[in-house]
């Protein structure tokens, strides 16, 4: 750790700390914005605070000072208010209204800051992209430690946001989840929402020096969106979002130093990468786990179809011994969907043989006791479903097979027995074939 610090130097450490704190504040606010589907509003506010900052600086405020914070919050709330005005009075769609208002305000800010560049201590480039690298050079002394001014502002703002979140969390959650019910119990929903907007403006303005007006949107939206994929409780989501944001700040800054490029840009890139990883690896909704679930189901269906096919062939052989010589493997009774490839059938049979469900006998396959029990359950599901459909739906006999071929893999024991109770213990399906009885052991293929 000591070598790390000395390598980067105290300057870099301060810059990283500042980036981490502003990112954490944005991620906390962003969590509520994302679950309320208000990411666009966050985008709007983060841009629209610019004229508020500029005007405050022109009026004598210093960057990071109280006057600037107030100006930014006022500009943010003005955006929300103007948008609502356009939508209720002008009949403009809310998203279009947001687009009109924030771009206009942002442009106004750019125009003023450029025109007044010679008079005020505010650089247009710095406003747009942030200058995290320069943050450590503007310091204030606190208890004989030189703390960057931006770090001080960011910390105060973060503590403010965190305590507000702690105190009003339940109200924010109720308002976010069910605004009608919140209103019905007397929660001033408009006021709560305005509070969230003010918090967004605060988080944004604290981030301005570090990451600029454009990339701050990434800090608001991306960590929370990634966290939403990973966990399913709002407070967990807030903590995960903050952790991802801090990691993004630290890794992003170091990567930017290594590649000698923009720190804010690299932080946003790292956040995007974190989102990508979450989307691929998320335990429940991730691309990989969904793919794995699909493949596991396909494999199960393949194996069960093989088992059932052999079961049916043995049944046919028992009824008409003359046909016993028919190759058992090719016994795939009236399959209407695309048959699985020869290779995958072979693979399934190899697994079934290996797991002791079937055994090879002179060129064909024979079920073991366990295999027969499991296959019986599948055939039973299949024929019960045919019997049930035949009774309840006006479907020609030859149309009964395809749905049953699909349903047989999903019918649980409870439903099977209910269907049997309903269609009666007649013991045969609409084609006149015997429905095997429920086995004593627990059946396979149940969900």
């Amino acid at each position: 750790m000591a070598s790390l610090v000395s390598e980067f130097g105290a300057m870099h450490a301060w810059a990283i700390a500042t980036a981490a704190v502003v990112s954490a504040g944005c991620a906390l606010v962003g969590t509520l914005l994302v679950v309320r589907r208000m990411s666009l509003v966050g985008d709007a506010i983060s841009h629209a605070v610019l004229p508020g900052i500029v005007v405050a600086v022109l009026a004598g405020g210093r960057p990071g000072g109280v006057l600037v914070l107030v100006g930014a919050v006022a500009a943010g709330l003005l955006t929300v208010w103007l948008t609502q005005l356009l939508s209720t009075q002008g009949g403009l769609a809310e998203d279009a209204g947001t687009g009109v208002v924030f771009t206009t305000l942002f442009a106004l800010g750019v125009v003023i800051v450029t025109a007044a560049a010679s008079r005020i201590d505010l650089d247009p480039t710095c406003v747009l992209y942030g200058v995290l690298e320069l943050v450590p050079f503007d310091t204030v002394e606190i208890v004989s430690v030189n703390v960057p001014r931006a770090m001080l502002t960011a910390t105060v703002v973060f503590l403010l946001l965190a305590s507000a979140a702690w105190l009003t969390w339940k109200t924010q959650v109720l308002t976010a989840f069910d605004p009608d019910a919140a209103r019905a119990v007397g929660v001033p929903v408009g006021f709560v929402t305005t509070g969230l907007m003010a918090a967004t403006a605060l988080a944004t303005v604290a981030s301005f020096e570090a990451v600029g007006a454009i990339l701050v949107v990434a800090m608001l939206v991306v960590p929370a969106s990634a966290a939403e994929l990973l966990v399913h409780r709002l407070h967990h989501m807030a903590f995960v979002a903050i952790a991802l944001a801090v990691a993004g700040a630290v890794i992003g800054y170091m990567a930017a130093w290594y590649f000698n490029t923009s720190a804010a840009g690299m932080m946003a890139v790292v956040l995007g990468f974190e989102y990508l990883v979450a989307a691929v690896l998320a335990p429940d909704d991730g691309i990989l786990s969904r793919l794995a679930r699909r493949m596991w189901l396909a494999w199960r269906v393949l194996c069960e179809d093989r088992l059932a096919a052999i079961w049916r062939a043995e049944e046919a052989a028992a009824i008409q011994p003359a046909h016993a010589t028919a190759s058992v493997v090719s016994a795939t009774p009236n399959m209407t969907q695309v048959p699985p490839s020869r290779f995958s059938q072979r693979l399934a049979l190899t697994w079934l043989a290996f797991s002791g469900r079937v055994a090879a006998v002179d060129g064909g396959w024979k079920l073991s006791a366990q295999g027969r029990e499991e296959a019986g359950v599948i055939v039973r599901s299949h024929r019960l479903w045919e019997a049930w459909l035949g009774r309840h739906a006006d479907i020609p006999l030859d149309h009964l097979h395809p749905p049953a071929e699909w349903v047989e893999h999903h019918l649980g024991a409870a439903v099977r027995n209910r269907i049997e109770a309903e269609v009666g213990q007649q013991g045969s399906d609409p084609h006149g074939r015997t429905i095997p009885p429920e086995s004593e052991g627990k059946g396979e293929g149940e969900e």
């Binding site: 679950v35 589907r37 105190l167 009003t168 969390w169 339940k170 109200t171 959650v173 109720l174 976010a176 989840f177 069910d178 009608d180 019910a181 209103r183 019905a184 119990v185 007397g186 929660v187 939403e228 966990v231 399913h232 409780r233 709002l234 967990h236 989501m237």
Partner: protein
């Protein structure tokens, strides 16, 4: 006309409600007293949900007033429970079933107090009452439609109210959940509560509700179920849709637009 001095549990007095400038409920006069199950019945677009939302202060009144337990809404809010339509919320929202039920206790906690052990115990008890104790910690998006509706009902129970409003609690709900919901509503009646239910299914309305109101933008009839649910009244509610009210509503709206 006798002048009733007794204050009713729920009273609409000449209530007119408009969305924008367009009236959707006209001059509703309705008094309801508990305990009991009260059905609000009518065709699509009749203003059934609007009637309930008006009582809860969710839509502004153009005319008339509403009294709950003889008082304005603001004075009795803690005594009112509400189950909105299931479709009005985002069920992918990252909360568990028990956390949603816990929201029912928030109103009594005030602004800054956080829910504690007492509230959590109550929330679990309410979930047990609707038969969902075992899936309390599941994320709400993973529940079936009927289970989601029962979670909403459990949240209303956690409010420990005296007057409940339920907006279409039986819509898109499986038979088992319907039975469970009806059983809980009957328990509420037995506890002396008044339960007002917006309902669209005429087949079940007759057996479930003690009293009903038939509405189609105006009040057609109200009173004990047996006397109100008659062929004549139903025809007046469903078949006799009053185009005049629609036309008039549009005319009022137009007048507001053109100078």
């Amino acid at each position: 006309m006798s002048h009733d001095v007794k204050c009713h549990d729920l009273e609409f007095h000449d209530v007119t409600v408009a969305y924008g400038r367009r009236p959707v409920l006209w001059n509703i006069d309705l008094s309801i007293d508990g305990p009991g199950l009260f059905g609000v019945i009518g065709p699509n677009g009749a203003g059934k949900s609007t009637l309930v939302k008006a009582a809860l202060g969710l839509v502004p009144l153009v005319g008339g007033h509403i009294r709950l337990f003889g008082r304005p809404l603001e004075q009795v809010r803690p005594r009112i429970g509400y189950v909105p339509q299931r479709e009005t919320v985002d069920w992918d929202f990252p909360v568990s079933a028990v956390e949603v039920v816990l929201m029912g206790t928030y109103a009594r906690l005030g602004w800054f107090r956080r829910p504690g052990a007492a509230q959590r115990t109550l929330a679990r008890e309410c979930l047990d009452r609707v038969g969902l104790g075992e899936i309390a910690d599941r994320q709400i998006g993973r529940l079936s439609g009927g289970q989601q509706q029962r979670v909403f009902l459990a949240r209303a129970l956690a409010q420990q109210a005296d007057l409940y409003f339920l907006d279409e609690p039986m819509a898109g709900v499986d038979a088992r959940s319907q039975d469970q919901i009806f059983r809980v509503l009957s328990e509420l009646r037995a506890d002396g509560k008044l339960v007002v239910v917006v309902h669209h299914d005429l087949r079940t309305a007759g057996e479930w509700f003690d009293s009903v109101a038939l509405i189609d933008m105006r009040l057609v009839a109200a009173g004990p179920t047996a006397t109100v649910l008659t062929q004549v009244n139903l025809r007046r509610t469903y078949a006799g849709h009053l185009d005049v009210l629609d036309e008039l509503g549009r005319a009022v709206e137009q007048r507001g637009r053109t100078p």
